[in-house]
């Protein structure tokens, strides 16, 4: 069977670390990195006798994530123990949620090649992250519990994915929603946004699902896409060769570009979930839900539609702007001041983005007041400065944070729009440049550019270009 005759079926489990100040069950700082085992206490290292107490902000953030993805909320929710032995899990159980997760039945809208679709979310539950195993040189594996107890939400999707492209679009969308809701910083390189992919294939048209494999803990969208392609082909080859797929956990080996079965996690698990006796139920009221809903920002999809309709910017520009909530907020405030939103969008995408690195762009760390950009745009629109002067003003504004009008004033950058002054200057230029004048009069229209250049030179670029052109044309017209 040709590879193209198979359909890939995938479901995703995304783990996203919540950006609370402290861990989920103790007061240790929730910070990435740090010296090994310095963000720890008896509770998060599972010492005998210790007890967990739930961080209230974790519940709030998980509800934010749920409501931002259209989930329903379990008004009665509880926590459960998931039992297994592994050195990164000091209690030998992970406190997670089993049958009553905080959120369920949500959806995320995606678009691939202009084709929109909906990905169903089965559930979002809260749980604790495990520690880190360091497989360095030396005889043993070392354990650092700094990450142990960092709050996570696990977002489980329905098996709705049929292509790596959909997975990419979903992950990007989900990430932007979580960033908008301000519950996670979603830094894939720091592991605060990770993804497990459950993948099976079946002949196109077949209803039953094939046996799936699980690829765990991938933290780069590019790797995920590559891993999916590889794994789907691997499964197709096995089936074509008359083999059967073994249900197992596999790991993406980026160096070799292949997926490999994980030995340590391959033995069949029986997690023996049961309700966590040390933690009390979580009851969510309508009132809490309404409060959280009201505090959520407008999500990227809705903003994009608004930008296209009301602000008249292009889809390409809108996508770039809504990618970060803070950039979108910046755009909206700047647009309120500015007379032209398209120009605002242009300045953000060209001038501002070129000055930010990737992280700053994503976090929307723009060191300017949005009103300042709006004012700058208005200075151009009102003909106070021309666009090349505006670049100079912008550069100054970026460095000094001064208001653009002040910079224009101080540097005397106002364009010359005085009719008489420009008229006499134009007459001089025409008198002194006989060649281009003759060319123009003989029908070579472009020759006027040379005269224009002369005018700019004399005014140090401050002349209003529209005015100069019409003056030149007026005088030259009289000479015909």
């Amino acid at each position: 069977m040709s590879y193209n005759d198979y359909e890939i079926v995938m479901g995703l489990e995304v783990h996203s670390e919540l950006k609370t100040k402290t861990k989920i069950f103790c007061g240790c700082p929730n910070e990435f990195g740090g010296e090994t085992n310095t963000h720890c206490c008896p509770i998060c290292t599972g010492m005998p006798g210790t007890l967990p107490v739930l961080n209230g902000t974790v519940v709030e953030y998980a509800l934010r994530a749920g409501l931002a993805t259209g989930c329903k909320i379990n008004m009665f929710s509880k926590q459960d123990r998931k039992n297994y032995f592994y050195p990164d899990l000091p209690k030998a159980y992970q406190i997670s949620q089993f049958d009553l997760p905080l959120c369920y039945a949500g959806e995320v809208a995606i678009e691939v090649d202009g084709k929109p679709s909906l990905i169903g979310l089965t559930r979002i539950h809260i749980e604790e992250d495990a520690g880190k195993l360091l497989h360095e040189a030396g005889e043993g594996s070392l354990i650092d519990y700094n990450r142990c107890g960092v709050p996570l939400i696990e977002i489980v999707s329905e098996p709705d994915f049929r292509s790596a492209g959909e997975v990419r679009a979903y992950l990007e969308k989900l990430r932007s929603i979580l960033l908008y809701a301000e519950v996670s910083d979603c830094k894939m390189n720091e592991g605060s946004f990770r993804c497990d992919v459950n993948l099976s294939i079946r002949p196109k048209g077949q209803k039953e699902l094939g046996t799936r494999t699980e690829m765990k803990n991938m933290n780069s969208i590019n790797f995920i896409v590559k891993a999916i392609d590889y794994e789907a082909k691997r499964q197709a080859q096995i089936i074509d060769g008359g083999g059967v797929i073994i249900q197992e956990t596999r790991r993406w080996d980026e160096g070799k570009g292949i997926t490999v079965a994980m030995r340590s996690k391959s033995d069949a698990h029986d997690y023996r979930y049961f309700p966590e006796p040390d933690l009390m139920p979580i009851i969510t009221t309508e009132e809490t839900m309404e409060k959280i809903k009201a505090s959520l920002p407008v999500m990227p999809d809705i903003r994009k539609a608004l930008y296209l309709k009301e602000y008249g910017i292009t889809e390409y520009d809108a996508d770039l702007i809504v990618a970060s909530r803070h950039v979108a907020d910046f755009f909206e405030v700047a647009s309120k001041t500015a007379k032209n939103s398209k120009t605002v969008a242009n300045w953000i995408i060209t001038e501002i983005f070129s000055r930010l690195n990737e992280d700053e762009k994503e976090e929307g760390k723009i060191p300017l007041k949005p009103e300042s950009l709006g004012e700058l745009v208005n200075l151009i629109e009102d003909g106070v400065i021309n666009s090349s002067t505006a670049k100079e003003v912008f550069a100054d504004m970026w460095d000094t944070r001064k208001a653009p009008a002040l910079i224009v004033e101080e540097k005397g950058l106002k364009q010359i729009s005085n009719d008489d002054e420009l008229k006499s200057m134009a007459q001089e230029v025409i008198n002194e440049n006989t060649k281009p004048v003759a060319d123009f009069l003989s029908g070579i229209e472009a020759a006027i550019q040379s005269l224009m250049g002369q005018m700019m030179k004399r005014t140090k670029g401050k002349a209003n270009p529209g005015m100069v052109i019409s003056l030149l044309k007026e005088i030259l017209g009289g000479m015909k």
Binding site: P42, T45, G46, M47, P48, G49, T50, L51, P52, V53, L54, R81, N83, F85, P87, P90, K91, A92, Y93, S141, I143, D270, R272, Y273, F274, P277, D278, L279, M280
Partner: protein, 487 residues
């Protein structure tokens, strides 16, 4: 009367009135421990130096005229499953034979805050699993009334230490009767407070939904003081009840006339030692003499409570004890091939048979395919049992039962028969399952001169009702024939 025979409230008065120093009292107890510990084996760790240091520090404060708690300077001892910073805490297990906690349990912090003196850590069945203290990795504690008999368990060390005057009072923990049953065997007062009223933070967990710390004392007055010491809301324990806690000393001496007491007939029938039954009936007459009304009732679910208890407690234990794996603390096997082998060897060598049995049962009850039939079903039984008690407490203030079906048995008599051992808890476990408070107090002796205890069960948070009835009973009871062996 020797100093070590004094009750805690008497010692407290002596110290507060500057008639004695804490150091003198503490020394008297340490000497007593030195003299009788070889026969009783109640302690795993005796912290003489720290105790004397604490005592002297209290004396300095008193001399300075500082206002201290009413228990300041009083020497106590605690069960070895409560974490004491810097002091070995073993849980009676080999797997924690070298564990020095880096933090204090909340009750230990309360003891320090009250300026009390900790004499040491008391022997117990390994991880509190047992009814005889024979399951300790370290030693078998003897019953001070007859050294050939068990003190009960799992807080056997805590009960024996009080009975043998080795501490003014002690703390134990009660998951299925582990305070009340040894109190009954050793002739002292033992109380399990309402679940959620004493912080479990720092109590090494056996079964989280059942465990509760409680005191073992010489009399009811001391019990009230001890309850005042340890009860209270703790933000470190999510199951801690956020309520106003009363002063239990006020329950002492309150009028008990007209109190209504239920007497379930199921606990006076088959399997109950004749003298135990007689002792309960004589207690009934004493209560009636005090103006209380005692009525026979029926409790249908008594049979089913014990299996439900063993399922719930073992399931929770199998999870709670999984952390003992030789990685972060405690014992690690000397030889192993790889990580899994390290886990298995460590746990195989580190846990005793009874602990392994319960881990196996609990793992089984939670495992795929059995969860609904065992664990979940046991939690349903819990609902029914709670309802049954609630119904009783609509009409009665207290429920009266024997504390255990028999008096203390001989060391070694039941070690080979787990089920028979489990049956010792049949009357105490319903209380834990329903989360209720209950107290055991001596009501007489059998023909072998072994103590007998009665159990008074109260409704949720009705400790004061139990205490006032127990105090009235204590004042009115007659105890013929009880003689502690010459130690």
């Amino acid at each position: 009367m020797a100093l070590y025979q004094l009750k805690a409230h008497v010692i407290s008065a002596l110290i507060q009135n500057k008639e004695m120093t804490s150091e003198e009292i503490t020394k008297a107890f340490l000497d007593r421990i030195e003299a009788v510990e070889p026969k009783i084996d109640a302690f795993i760790t005796i912290s003489s130096e720290e105790a004397l240091k604490q005592a002297r520090a209290v004396d300095v404060k008193i001399a300075r005229g500082e206002k201290l708690s009413s228990l300041a300077g009083v020497p106590i001892a605690i069960k070895d499953n409560m974490c004491t910073k810097g002091i070995l805490t073993t849980c009676g297990s080999k797997i924690l034979n070298n564990f020095i906690p880096p933090y204090n349990a909340t009750v230990v912090n309360k003891i320090h805050a009250a300026d009390m003196v900790i004499l040491g850590k008391l022997n117990m069945d390994e991880f509190a699993m047992g009814s005889s203290t024979e399951n300790s990795y370290y030693k078998v504690t003897k019953n001070p009334w007859n050294l050939k008999r068990v003190p009960g368990g799992s807080s056997g060390g805590s009960a024996a230490a009080v009975a043998a005057d080795m501490a003014a009072f002690t703390l134990g923990s009660d998951t299925g009767g582990s305070i009340r049953q040894p109190a009954h065997y050793c002739g002292v007062v033992g109380m399990k407070p309402t679940y959620g009223t004493v912080s479990r933070y720092g109590l090494v967990a056996f079964a989280s939904s059942l465990d509760q710390i409680g005191p073992l004392t010489k009399d009811v007055k001391d019990m009230a003081l001890a309850m005042n010491l340890i009860m209270g809301h703790d933000p470190m324990d999510s199951s801690s009840a956020p309520i106003d806690y009363p002063d239990f000393s006020k329950s002492i001496g309150e009028d008990v006339r007209g109190m209504r007491v239920a007497l379930p007939k199921e606990f006076l029938g088959e399997g109950i030692q004749k003298e135990v039954k007689e002792s309960v009936l004589s207690a009934v007459r004493v209560l009636e003499g005090l103006g209380m009304v005692v009525e026979e009732v029926s409790m249908a679910l008594t049979d089913i409570a014990l299996p439900a208890y063993y399922l719930i407690s073992s399931a929770e234990a199998s999870s709670n004890l999984a952390r003992f794996d030789g990685v972060k603390y405690g014992y690690r096997a000397k030889e192993y091939d790889d990580l899994i082998d390290l886990y298995q060897q460590t746990r195989d060598e580190g846990f005793g048979d009874e602990v392994k049995r319960r881990i196996m049962l609990g793992t089984y009850a939670l495992s795929s395919g059995y969860y609904d039939a065992y664990y979940k079903k046991a939690q349903r039984v819990r609902t029914l049992l709670k309802q049954e008690f609630s119904k009783l407490f609509e009409s009665y203030d207290l429920v009266l039962t024997p504390t255990g079906p028999t008096t203390a048995f001989e060391i070694g008599a039941k070690v080979d028969n787990p089920i028979e051992m489990y049956l010792n808890d049949i009357i105490t476990v319903p209380v834990n399952i329903a989360g209720l408070p209950a107290l055991s107090i001596n009501s007489g002796f059998d023909q072998n001169k072994m103590p007998i205890g009665i159990q008074l069960i109260g409704d949720t948070l009705k400790e004061h009702t139990i205490l006032k009835a127990a105090y009235a009973y204590e004042q009115a009871r007659e105890l013929p024939g009880g003689v502690l062996v010459e130690l």
